[in-house]
């Protein structure tokens, strides 16, 4: 059994992409042109332009003669290929591999169709995904590369699956233009009066070889659904990066954010296709003429949510001052991690999550990732090492009846006895040395605490903490809870190593 393939055809993909980037072009006659044989020629034309008679291959001057209002844009094959690959990466959620078919289509490995409700379900998912990215698409599933592409490009149905063995019947009604790889063969066949692939398939192979040679036989095999070409999976670039060159340099925030939204959508889609989430991004603004202006974006938690990313970028850019207008945007994912899905963390709806994510991302960007977190207790007898910062990942909040259960479990939380004797504030390091006055009977009378000599009112303790005797930094301390005049309880210890008293904490 041949492997199943899906072909996603994006009619006039470069035009669709251009309109997506500049919605003002929607419905207007648009032509993408490139230089060929010393003349600018039309490569792609929008529907409005085509209805005015503009065709591919026509010179720009001829097109302008037909339609003076024609808007023309330079066609950049490399940029179109990159955009197509970006879109394909986003579809990797539904297929393990893809092979681009520039400039307006791509094949996908459809072997995982059973995970999406069969081939019909997969086709629907692919169309929906393309639609959510802003593109019109046609999807055909077949067992041969040629069959899938020809039916997607020249067939009548926008979404169909051709069963194995019935490819020839499906291809029979298609025009000869579907043989895009062999234009000379198509021309010869037309000269012979043939118009469809079915007529080509019905010819005797020996006569075909005699007239058109191996190319003719190859074309007939394709028309009979006997394509044996294999899908060659595209290699993904290591770094996820998206570039957008603006039509005209912009100075205000809003058009910049509009362009960034498209970039972030594409980056997020690519990351989701790779099943990754962004951890750190870098936005480079190519300022005219000052040069690149990097804007690092550190995320509190990995995410692929473009809305959240856009909100973060908006807040970040509001505090950025530039020396000139921005001509190009480059968005790079500097660090990513496997995406295990977004956990609900707060509130009853996603809006709470978004608010939390946004503020965490904003604080992380402004203060640095090490400035915020959730404390985690460490198994260490040394008080100053008994906790460490950890990531802030509040547990998923349950709702309804499960929330009642969760509340019940909170009440059962128990703590070890030693935590009852810990101060809520701990002075940095090993504390502050104290000048103490000790009475004849060994009682602690007074000490200089917080810039003032204070009388001791009461003492409780000691609690002996010691350890690390096997290391270079052993410790042996006797901790007392000491009440000084004018202060609440304090945590004072006497160090066995030097015999001195230290103020280590405040029971504030």
């Amino acid at each position: 059994m041949s492997p199943r393939l899906a072909y996603v055809h994006l009619p006039r993909f470069p035009v669709q992409r251009r309109v997506l980037e500049e919605p003002a072009l929607s419905g207007r006659p648009l032509a993408l042109v490139h230089e060929e044989r010393q003349a600018l020629r039309v490569v792609f034309a929008s529907a409005a332009a085509q209805s005015a008679g503009i065709r591919t291959g026509m010179t720009l001057s001829a097109a302008r003669a037909l339609l003076p209002a024609l808007h023309d844009v330079r066609y950049d094959l490399r940029a179109e290929q990159q955009a197509l690959s970006s879109l394909a990466e986003g579809l990797l959620r539904f297929a393990p591999a893809f092979m681009p078919s520039a400039p307006d289509g791509l094949w996908l490995d459809a072997s995982a169709a059973s995970l999406f409700g069969g081939e019909a379900g997969l086709a629907r998912r692919l169309m929906d995904q393309a639609r959510s990215a802003g593109f019109r698409a046609r999807v055909v599933l077949a067992s041969q590369l040629f069959t899938a592409r020809a039916l997607a490009r020249y067939g009548s149905e926008a979404c169909t699956a051709v069963e194995e063995g019935s490819a020839a019947a499906g291809l029979a009604i298609l025009p000869l233009q579907a043989l895009e790889e062999a234009p000379e063969v198509v021309a010869s066949l037309r000269a012979l009066g043939l118009t469809t692939l079915g007529e080509l398939a019905a010819l005797a192979p020996a006569q075909l070889i005699a007239r058109l040679g191996a190319a003719g036989l190859r074309a007939q095999r394709l028309a009979r659904g006997e394509d044996d070409a294999r899908l060659l999976p595209a290699v993904l670039p290591e770094v996820v990066e998206e570039v957008r060159t603006l039509e005209a340099p912009v100075e205000s925030l809003e058009p910049l954010l509009f362009a960034l939204k498209g970039l972030l959508d594409r980056v997020a889609s690519r990351l989701r296709g790779r099943q990754q989430a962004a951890v750190r991004l870098n936005l480079t603004l190519m300022v005219d003429p000052a040069g690149p202006h990097p804007v690092p974006l550190a995320l509190a938690r990995p995410t692929t949510d473009p809305k959240l990313l856009l909100d973060l970028v908006r807040n970040r850019l509001e505090s950025v001052r530039l020396d000139g207008p921005v001509a190009t945007l480059v968005l790079t994912v500097e660090a990513a991690c496997p995406d295990h899905g977004q956990q609900g963390v707060l509130g009853d709806g996603p809006s709470g999550d978004a608010a939390l994510e946004t503020v965490l991302a904003r604080l992380t960007t402004a203060l640095g990732p090490e400035a915020l977190g959730s404390p985690v207790l460490a198994d260490d007898h040394r008080p100053e090492a008994a906790h460490a910062p950890g990531p802030f990942q509040p547990p998923r909040r349950e709702s309804g009846l499960l929330a009642e259960v969760e509340r019940g479990s909170l009440r059962q939380q128990s703590v070890p006895d030693w935590q009852l004797e810990r101060p809520v504030r701990l002075l940095p390091g090993t504390g502050t040395p104290l000048e103490v006055e000790v009475g004849q009977g060994g009682e602690l009378r007074s000490a200089r605490v917080l810039n003032q000599r204070r009388t001791v009112l009461a003492v409780a303790g000691p609690e002996r903490l010691g350890g690390q005797w096997w290391s270079e930094t052993p410790f042996q301390r006797d901790y007392y809870r000491v009440h000084f005049e004018g202060l609440g309880p304090t945590w004072v210890y006497r160090n066995a190593l030097d015999g001195r008293f230290y103020l280590h904490g405040l029971f504030d």
Partner: protein, 277 residues
């Protein structure tokens, strides 16, 4: 099922219970109680009011931090998140679980620059993601300017969150509700309402220390008990003695020659010191 048919009263009770649970609205909080009866009775509304800036103003070690975290614990019990902007960087998390605080639901922010403290609290408040935000300005020399105070009040009002503002005795801020906290010796601390828009002005209450952390022992009446000191000619059974680091490393240290560690049983002090345990 047969048993339930046999007892329709059980079914009715279950139906009623399900109706109650389904009809119960999302838990609404108007105040965060501290769980200390005298304090809650003192505060207008019976606790720290949400949507306001509550200022806990006083000396160091006066109990205000634990008081604030009791409100944080109340928020955690209601399955809400809390954030703490730790200005002096002295917050000691191991002391928080006994107060009822869930560390995994507490975001601690330690801004590298003092001027970022207020901004951080403002962002946290405005997000609306946290029921209570603590801003600790003690030992930071940070003074809130009037515009900053106004912004904080506005953010608290709009988000419906509670901002607990901890300020040093020498630099009170502009909290909507200002409470002065002062230590009263080894017995407890005193809480006085200094500013309030909802009444209870100049009312005060004294709370024993041991009530702040449930289960902690009382130090009232302990006095200046003798502790071991080098010139102390007292009984030789007192455990503290000066040792060398190499002795510690070699494991030849301990009260009775044993190796040190917290699990070591302490010798009985009470008879020696003449105090009741």
């Amino acid at each position: 099922m047969e048993a339930a048919r046999a007892d329709p009263a059980v079914l009715d009770r279950l139906r009623e219970r399900i109706r109650t649970l389904q009809a119960a609205p999302r838990q609404l909080l108007s105040v965060l109680r501290t769980g200390l009866a005298p304090v809650d009775a003192l505060l207008p509304g019976g606790g720290f009011p949400l949507g306001q800036v509550v200022e806990l103003w006083g000396e160091a070690a006066s109990g205000r931090t634990r008081l604030a975290f009791r409100a944080v614990a109340e928020a955690h019990r209601a399955l809400r998140l809390a954030a703490w902007v730790d200005g002096p960087g002295t917050l000691y998390p191991p002391a928080l679980p006994p107060l009822g605080v869930r560390l995994d639901q507490l975001l601690v922010v330690r801004a590298p620059e003092p001027k970022q403290l207020c901004w951080s609290a403002l962002q946290l408040l405005r997000s609306g993601a946290f029921a209570v935000v603590g801003l600790d300005l003690t030992h930071t020399r940070v003074r809130l300017s009037p515009p900053e105070s106004r912004r904080l009040v506005e953010a608290a009002t709009r988000s419906g969150g509670l901002l607990l503002l901890l300020t040093p005795a020498e630099a009170p801020a502009d909290g909507t509700l200002r409470l002065q906290v002062a230590a009263e010796g080894s017995a407890g601390f005193r809480l006085e309402v200094v500013r309030s828009r909802q009444g209870a002005m100049a009312r005060s209450v004294e709370v024993p220390w041991e009530q702040l952390t449930a289960g902690s022992p009382s130090d009232a009446g302990r006095g200046r008990t003798p502790i071991d000191a080098p010139p102390n000619p007292g009984p030789a059974s007192l455990p503290m003695r000066r040792v060398k680091a190499c002795d510690l490393r070699n494991g030849v240290i301990g009260v009775y020659g044993q190796r040190p560690g917290r699990d070591l049983p302490l010798p009985p002090f009470a008879p020696v010191l003449g105090v009741s345990p």
